[in-house]
Point group: C2
Chain length 132, copies 2
Amino acid sequence: MESVFEIIAEPNRRAILSLLVSSQQSVGEIERQLRMTQPTVSKHLRVLREAGFVESTVDAQRRLYRLKPEPFEELDAWLARFRRFWSEHVDALERHLDRMHPLAPTTATPTKKKTRRNRRDANRGHNKGETK
Amino acid sequence: MESVFEIIAEPNRRAILSLLVSSQQSVGEIERQLRMTQPTVSKHLRVLREAGFVESTVDAQRRLYRLKPEPFEELDAWLARFRRFWSEHVDALERHLDRMHPLAPTTATPTKKKTRRNRRDANRGHNKGETK
DNA sequence: TACTTATATACCTTGACACGTATATGCCAT
DNA sequence: ATGGCATATACGTGTCAAGGTATATAAGTA
């Protein structure tokens, strides 16, 4: 359970993160709002804390948890690699501005699927430079 | 295994997605580049396909897989909820805008924890309107 | 027709993790 | 100190998913 991706794979953890967007919360508050048992909340918070998603400060007997930005930036950085790709696609779908991308066929737009070429060169003109 | 988050939690699947950014690939090509067994690749591709991350076209005996944008947009939409937050924080850390957070010491910088208020109102002035 | 390549699927085993119950720890109040 | 509240942790259990091996399916080729 190291990667940020595994951390946010858990629905309850995502719920906790969403809760904390508005403001910091104590364990009990989270417990009540999300209707989870207290140990479950504590455990998820532990995971989130160790992954850097949240931090806590002590307030008497309670702990107030709040978000930390770093892991989100990491997620964003990963997504960024695909962002160029999908924005191309959004364009291609919404409109038909293929001429704006003279060299990026965006895969989806052209003949879609029935390409059915002679196999050997079915991939031609599509890949960048990885004849492999 | 419904959510996009669970899909990308698997390292091998992320590797496949990263591979497909550059261009579409056949199962065999993925298998060789990532050094995974063929059934493993097929299985992951199945998961990715059913989750809408990829689509495939038949090319003789092979299947060519390529990315689809929708799930990435979904991820981006989720991240967006936190984006405002973390950019705020970057500012908050670099500078010292504590007056914006009269009682949220950001943990890192100021009084750390000893805030030690009367408890009952420790959270006051921080929440939006979710007294719940 | 056989043989080979490419991919998908089935079955099994294993390990991880999420949850619940119970309990420990720590802080407050009386 | 004693009891109560807030949170953390331990332990046992069930589920589920990932990987491996074997096999099925399908399309090429000789």
